[in-house]
């Protein structure tokens, strides 16, 4: 599992530039599926036939947040803009990986006072990327304007806990890949690895339209409350099990999804937690409103420091999410 997560998270594929991660995922699952399709937007849709007359859809988005190079000055410094919810504060002192070259993020400031002020009021106008090239021509060869980049941050193995960029949502991809590998589905299983979630749930908006599943579950990361001075208004603790989402700011999970997951977890002694997320959303929001409406919910992995270069998850939660979903897929009772 660790190797799979490492491989997936260390791949560079920001929103709209998912071909690399799509190939890796397809390569991982191709021996375990009955068919696949890549739609017009680039979503990867795979399926495994079951014996029931119902269809279950599991979705994880395969894109990650990133930046786009927009302008290069005469000295070869690169200006960037965000792709998805990437904070300039998380870029401070970090490294960006472009397809041909890596770069260091710097901050403008003529004097110490300027620098301090710019850091206090940091935005994308105040930062630049330095790829160690002294002129515009060479820099434009390496990073032509319009080139996308992602955090350059390592996979860190802390034992039970693992850390990397792009856990959001490669951890969801890893969970679904494992479900595809380990399960003999009773229900017809569709897995969608969707594009452009981070810029506004783009890929998942249409991915389920032709599939018309009876139930859809987004597998994604969620927040945490268990750090010093963590948010007391919610409870999300690493290691206490995958979180069955009740609500976030984009959707309310269908009760049938919540109860189904909860009863499987209870019967099989799988730890789980219940999630009411104060802010954020997942693809469940657009799966739910597809076509005539789809019974949808989200299964989440509590994740610390989401959208930073170092997102931390607990492997126990990941394993338990896989167990829970395998039981759902194989369970010989009706979905609805």
């Amino acid at each position: 599992m660790k190797d799979l997560v490492k491989k997936l998270t260390q791949t560079s594929s920001p929103s709209g530039r998912e071909s690399e991660i799509r190939n890796i995922i397809l390569d991982e699952v191709k021996d375990f599926i009955d068919g696949y399709e890549i739609d017009k937007l680039g979503n990867l849709i795979v399926w495994k036939k079951g014996r029931s007359d119902e269809k279950l859809l599991l979705d994880a988005h395969m894109d990650e947040i990133g930046v786009v190079a927009t302008y290069i000055d005469d000295k070869g410094f690169i200006r960037i803009e965000p792709v998805g919810g990437i904070s300039p504060y998380n870029l401070l002192g970090s490294t960006i990986s472009f397809p041909n070259v890596k770069g260091i993020v710097g901050v403008e400031g003529e004097t110490q006072e300027d620098l301090a002020k710019n850091i206090r009021e940091l935005n994308f106008d105040k930062i630049f990327v330095d790829i160690g090239v002294g002129d515009k021509e060479r820099a434009e060869e390496l990073v032509p304007p319009g080139t996308f980049g992602v955090y350059d941050a390592p996979f860190i193995d802390l034992g039970e806990r693992i850390v990397s960029k792009a856990m959001d949502d490669r951890i969801g991809c890893a969970i679904i890949i494992e479900v595809l590998k380990r399960s003999k589905p009773y229900h017809n299983l569709y897995a969608t690895f969707s594009v452009q979630e981070e810029v506004g749930l783009v890929g998942a908006s249409t991915v389920a339209f032709n599939i018309k599943p009876d139930m859809a579950i987004a597998v994604d990361v969620t927040s945490y409350s268990d750090t010093p001075k963590g948010n007391k208004r919610m409870s999300l603790i690493l290691g206490k099990g995958p979180a069955i989402k009740i609500k976030d700011s984009a959707s309310i999970s269908d009760r049938r999804v919540v109860e189904k997951l909860r009863s499987i977890a209870e019967k099989n002694n799988i730890p789980y937690q219940i999630e009411v997320l104060l802010r954020g959303g997942t693809n469940a929001a657009v799966l739910q409103t597809t076509g005539e409406g789809i019974v949808s919910g989200t299964l989440s992995i509590p994740t610390r420091y989401v959208h930073s270069p170092h997102e931390m998850v607990d492997l126990k939660d990941v394993e338990n999410a896989v167990r829970l979903l395998v039981l759902l897929v194989e369970g010989e009772e009706k979905l609805l």
Binding site: R17, V68, V83, P145, G146, Q196, V202, S205
Partner: protein
Amino acid sequence: MYIKELTEISGVSGYEKKVREFIKNKIKEKVEGIEEDGLGNLIAWKRGKNSKKLMICAHMDEVGFMVSNIEEDGKLSVIPLGGIDLRAVIGKKVLVGENEIPGIIGYKPVHLQRSDLLTPPSLNDIKIDIGATKRSEVEGKIKIGDFVAFAGNSMIHAEWFSGKALDNRGGCSLLIDLIEKNLDLAYTTYFVFSVQEELGLRGARVASERINPDFAFVIETTTSGDNPEFPEDRRSSELGKGPVITPVHSGYVNDERLFNWVLKIAKESNIPHQIKRRTVGGTDARAIAVSSGAPSLVISIPSRYIHSPLCVMNLSDYENTLKLLSILLVKEEER
């Protein structure tokens, strides 16, 4: 090029009828089919060599206001339709309602302001003055819900054009030109003149769901920001440097293959072009992606002062955008 005529027409979001009628009259004999959908989008099509469907889309609407009340003293209070900087509209001439009754966007005179000069005006302070002194003089002429459009005042001077509503009559004019060129189209091409883009990409959503295109081009007039007060690296695009190709904007990353393909064609054809440097602001491209799942690319004419009563464009950018599109529409996309 119909920029002059198109930017003289009133067509704020939700009130695109006059623009639609103008365009329909220009193109109806030159296309194979034309229809108007329930939301007011104008959709025309021509068959191509390949049966795949290309949608090329420009929105007809412009930003403006709507009359929200007729006050006791005969002044009109308004709500904005689309993103408007109120500082840019004070003292400007507008046309109100179907009958286009002229009015002025009134505000406190500078002589009577002190510290309020430092703060931008609030919508509560902005009233339209049509020269009436009491409500009864207005009633019968203007109704609550009437549109308020900037008055057209277009001008061509050497290679420069100025006028209102360039966003996006510039795009509409390009589409009409493309139809009139009677190109040997590569794909079956749907020319979509969409409504209510400025209020949230509403028209293109249903148009693309109806057409279900294989891919799309969204033709826009976009922000430049090449004012002297902006250093080069803070600009979004620059006038005179050719069509603007967007890699990513609010809510949608433009299709990678289309992006690379169009850049390649522009280079091969020696057409000046530029990459958009800012990502804020969305276009119909998002609506097309989330409603029909079709990939698209935004190609724009750069323009100064868009969303204000006077926008400025360089005619060479119009010509180069037209040249690029004329090549793209006859070529099979390389995948």
